[in-house]
Symmetry: C2
Subunit: 308 residues, 2 copies
């Protein structure tokens, strides 16, 4: 099955999440003993570096314990066949692990460089979002008391006021406005020189995806779009977004970019987009790498998959 | 433009959010003086009851002040033409407002009973989600200190650790598994007797919308689905979800419902669905009301809009 959402990085997972196991502490405790682990130092997973079979982010329970992994903070990712996969934080930094032949590699590089099989990128994103959420949500937003992890990592409970808190996933629309044979891309000030990408922004309370697309395009470039069609979605663990990729039909062309967010916005021809995807644009302009949903939107656009 | 997402309740808004104004306290302070207000007692908006022009949830600034509305907690919803619209909490309950000819009406009833114009339901949902978020997020999840509202209601800042917190919007998939001419609906234990609706569940960290659909259908009914297509989205302010409606192609039919979430699950023929939408099913079964995205999914299904 060729599914558009499977084309981006972090979108594929070989795990069965078996959510019904999360609330069974005895099962989780038993599973931890023979589990494999993704271990994170801060927001970076550990990789054992070797030429064969290549960089490996999966560690056994003995190694996890030797590295002093926080087993009480381990989150259950799911079953990989019969093997339970967890993610856990470890203390230490580069210097701690260097002597072990282990490197810390940021999650973006893991995807861009293809350091793990595509079906393990989903679990890496899942682990990064969950561990990051726990690290930044140790207190109850309702009453300020310390909270504690529950449900194998999918909830935090407040012993003081009784509130339950759940990991957040922030929906973000990312869209390609299309006007005939041209499409609209922009650069944020932080981008590498020469890179243009799709416009994007958080969905706000009380709006549909389609309204969010129209609002963001208008706010960022002053362009009006009407019809919006869904393309695909992608987990984006920085820290916990769900990118929702769309095409949008432009009904105006004049650009007035918001200088706080946009360094430059431009209409590109289909031919140029093809060149940018392949790093052959005459001016050296280029698009995000294939792991990014923006790349997949552009690739579909060049292939004529845009439908309104 | 007939957009599927505009067919559900809470999906239409006549406001221009003018997000660029939020960070300008002087502009906001000025706007508050001549604004109109949605006023909430707890999670219920106030309505001035009259036969002509009908129940009215919009109050002027003088009335808002007379009701002791929390102006320092007013959130900016957007511009309705030249008029700024805010939402603010007020103290008091039914008995306080009864003498004023004002009723508190829950947000669900506002939509089901069509008490306001469709284009005001979006702002009501926006107000409900934002006020509820502030009411339940007075403390910093990172350090436990008290936070304060910023950006006219779209951020909370922690003066202690410097963290910024943003309103959350939780993506939820809601889906109709389809097998030929049949589709799968279920009842939760809390439903009114006779009502069946679409399966639904929260998107988890690290998964695509499509994977979330497949996981939830499998977890709740044991049915396998493969292809997933997007139908529409709907803001669902209970407290702050974004419903993302999909069709899913079923590749198995045997049902094994999860008793913790599902009281009954059944395959229905297209004919039965038509009867349920119109409250003419011979066994008295029925579907959710037209403001619900589940209703709109079913209506599209009966109309043959299902596409894989």
């Amino acid at each position: 099955m060729d599914e558009r959402s499977q084309r981006s990085g972090y979108s594929r997972s070989r795990l069965d999440r078996t959510a019904n196991r999360r609330g069974d502490p005895a099962w989780i405790a038993q599973a931890l003993r023979s589990a494999r682990f993704l271990l994170f130092s801060g927001d970076r997973p550990l990789f054992r570096i070797s030429d064969n079979p290549g960089p490996d982010p999966l560690f056994d329970a003995g190694t996890a314990q030797r590295f002093d992994a926080g087993m009480d903070r381990a989150v259950f990712l799911g079953l990989d066949g019969d093997t339970a996969l967890f993610a856990a934080p470890v203390p230490g930094d580069e210097t701690t692990f260097d002597a072990e032949g282990i490197k810390l590699i940021d999650v973006r590089s893991v995807a861009v460089q293809g350091l793990v099989a595509p079906a393990l990128l989903g679990p890496v994103a899942q682990a990064k979002s969950l561990l990051d959420w726990h690290a930044r949500h140790g207190y109850c937003a309702r009453c300020g008391a310390s909270t504690r992890m529950a449900d194998a990592g999918y909830r935090r409970d407040c012993p003081s006021c009784g509130a339950s808190h759940f990991p957040r996933t922030d929906p973000v629309v990312i869209m390609l406005p299309v006007d005939g044979a041209d499409c609209l891309l922009a650069r944020a000030p932080r981008f590498q020189p020469g890179m243009y990408s799709a416009l994007a922004g958080f969905v706000e309370p009380g709006e549909t995806l389609e309204d969010a697309v129209r609002r963001e395009v208008k706010e960022e470039t002053a362009v009006d779009v009407d019809r919006v069609t869904y393309h695909s979605s992608q987990p984006w663990p920085f820290p916990s977004s769900l990118m929702i990729g769309c095409f949008a039909r432009a009904v105006s062309r004049d650009l007035d970019p918001d200088p706080r967010e946009i360094a430059d916005a431009r209409w590109f021809s289909r031919t140029e987009i093809g060149e940018m995807l392949n790093h052959r644009h005459p001016d050296g302009l280029f698009a995000p790498p294939s792991m990014a949903i923006a790349h997949q939107l552009l690739k579909s656009y060049v292939a004529g998959e845009t439908i309104f």
